[in-house]
Symmetry: C2
Subunit: 329 residues, 2 copies
């Protein structure tokens, strides 16, 4: 516990600075609620709909904050990133705004919509085999060849601070409503979103309980938080939550999450599918499976929320039309 008094690597002031950088370019997403949802879970529930963010997920925030921090003299080499999809779009869109060249290394099985949208933002897409090739090595090669800056999806202070603006907006909106959150839940893959959100929420509401949400089996955050150290998950197959397949928490993100998160929760693919359909019916929002995992855990009864005020981040909406049609029909 000796490190519990050491400063965290990202502070709420870093997030304030990111908010200023993002203000002209990012969408300030609202905080939504529904009597039907409140009644169903017996709690006051707020959803933060990050599918309404530019590029359809929160990832634009971290990517734009990171790219904006690259010194002018280094921008000529462009940027390179590896991503299953949402980070790819975030980096590509940020690079387009800042007039930088972007190369994105994506798994060949990433949803088609995510590949096409990444190209749509003007990025070059390089595909790799998720099971046999090392995306970090491929991205590293490209970075060396082009003199490009590698933009990591989560283990980066500027990226975490950018994602933290999600939590900052939640805290601002709750304060305006005069509401204090008991529980705040965000999906976790590498853990950058939940680390940033936790930092911003805890700065204003130190008593709030922060939780990561993951697909059943892909529960490296839940395991790591229990173990007190970074542990991989043991899943071998796939999940419909294509955005949440990182095998182990990030180093920087876990240093934050270990201090600020209370636990990790999980939901099965079936529970996630039901949550996607619920959000279609009750909120008229398109949430992708990975973006719905926190709400899925809540709806399935895996979070003790009765009588409490709970905020759930819906982290994105980039889902292939065919899968989406199957989940809602």
């Amino acid at each position: 516990m000796s490190n519990s008094v050491a400063p965290l690597p990202v502070t709420s002031m870093d997030i304030d600075a990111a908010a200023r950088v993002l203000a002209p370019f990012a969408i300030r997403t609202p905080l939504l609620s529904s009597p039907a949802l409140d009644e169903r879970v017996g709690a006051k529930v707020f959803l933060k709909p990050e599918m309404l963010q530019r590029t359809g997920s929160f990832k634009f925030r971290g990517a734009f904050n990171k790219l904006s921090s690259i010194p002018q003299e280094a921008r000529g080499g462009g940027v390179v990133a590896f991503s299953s999809g949402n980070h790819a779009q975030g980096v590509a869109a940020a690079a387009q705004i800042l007039n930088m060249r972007a190369t994105i290394v994506m798994p060949a099985d990433a949803p088609r919509s995510k590949r096409e949208r990444t190209k749509g933002y003007g990025a070059e897409v390089v595909l790799y085999d998720r099971d046999r090739e090392d995306r970090e090595a491929i991205a590293g090669d490209i970075a060396r060849k082009h003199g490009a800056t590698l933009v990591r999806p989560y283990d980066d202070l500027k990226v975490i601070a950018g994602q933290g603006t999600v939590g900052r907006e939640i805290a601002e909106d709750l304060a305006m409503l005069g509401v204090t959150p008991d529980i705040v839940v965000a999906p976790a893959s590498g853990g950058g979103l939940v680390a940033g959100v936790a930092t911003a929420i805890k700065a204003r509401y130190p008593q709030a309980v922060l939780m990561s949400a993951e697909p059943e089996g892909f529960d490296d955050h839940a395991r790591s938080l229990r173990a007190g150290k970074r542990e991989p998950h043991h899943a071998e197959g796939r999940t419909i939550c294509d955005a949440l397949m990182a095998t182990v928490p990030g180093e920087i993100t876990f240093a934050i999450n270990q201090r600020l998160l209370t636990q990790g929760v999980t939901a099965s693919d079936a529970e996630v599918g039901a949550a996607v359909a619920f959000v279609f019916r009750e909120f008229k929002l398109v949430v992708e499976p990975g973006g719905a995992v926190g709400l899925a855990a809540l709806l399935a009864g895996h979070i003790e929320a009765h009588g409490k005020t709970i905020v759930i981040v819906l982290s994105g909406g980039n889902v292939d039309a065919d899968l989406y049609a199957r989940l809602v029909a």
Copy 2:
């Protein structure tokens, strides 16, 4: 033109009053934009996403404002309404909040989701045959039998003022952004939404051009605006825009729209389907066909918007999952 100086039946002060009544209960929907949409149409486009409104459409606004105006001594008899779906849900939800009994007369071919959700708000649903029975007569009978107040879907001053809060929020948000609208478009069935929106927009931006949007063939507003008097449409079949099948503009609404609207635009079912899919992909929002008709007209090139600032109301998101899955897949 002699009546062009007579006062309009609904004023911006009526809409201000409705906004105060609605504030604790209605959702203040945001104003959304997307670089992809702006680029595609060569204009600055803002969408008003009323599918995010309570009950999934703007109709809650007018219904709640109307029900709130019923004197306490008349509330015991409850309310009755006829509606193809969205007004039904608006009235049912408003009645539930105000502890009033609601009976809703719905066409037997209304989307299942709309029927079920209306019952979900605690209303009694009475079905009728759209081609052979007179919904006004059925509702009138129920009103007499129960001593219920009939809540008309559009030809009512309180309903129009409630819908006008959509336009009031648009005007407020545009003012905050420092943007002046050139064109504002809203779907029209009986014309209550576009009448209220036009009243609110014109109060702040008298130069703005207001347009109604209708499904191709179901173009009674477009015809009536051209003719200078209420004209029915000549369509005999169906449209996927189930919310927009009224045969002739309302009397009160047309008295307003004739003064404030410049023209009516239309879009085919195929163009509407493409707009529904566009909103799924680019905005991650679920819009129902009728709610997308204005955007469909814009995307199909039926509105001369190049270089202009245009606001489009997406009026609702209550669409059956099967149809929605077909349209986006």
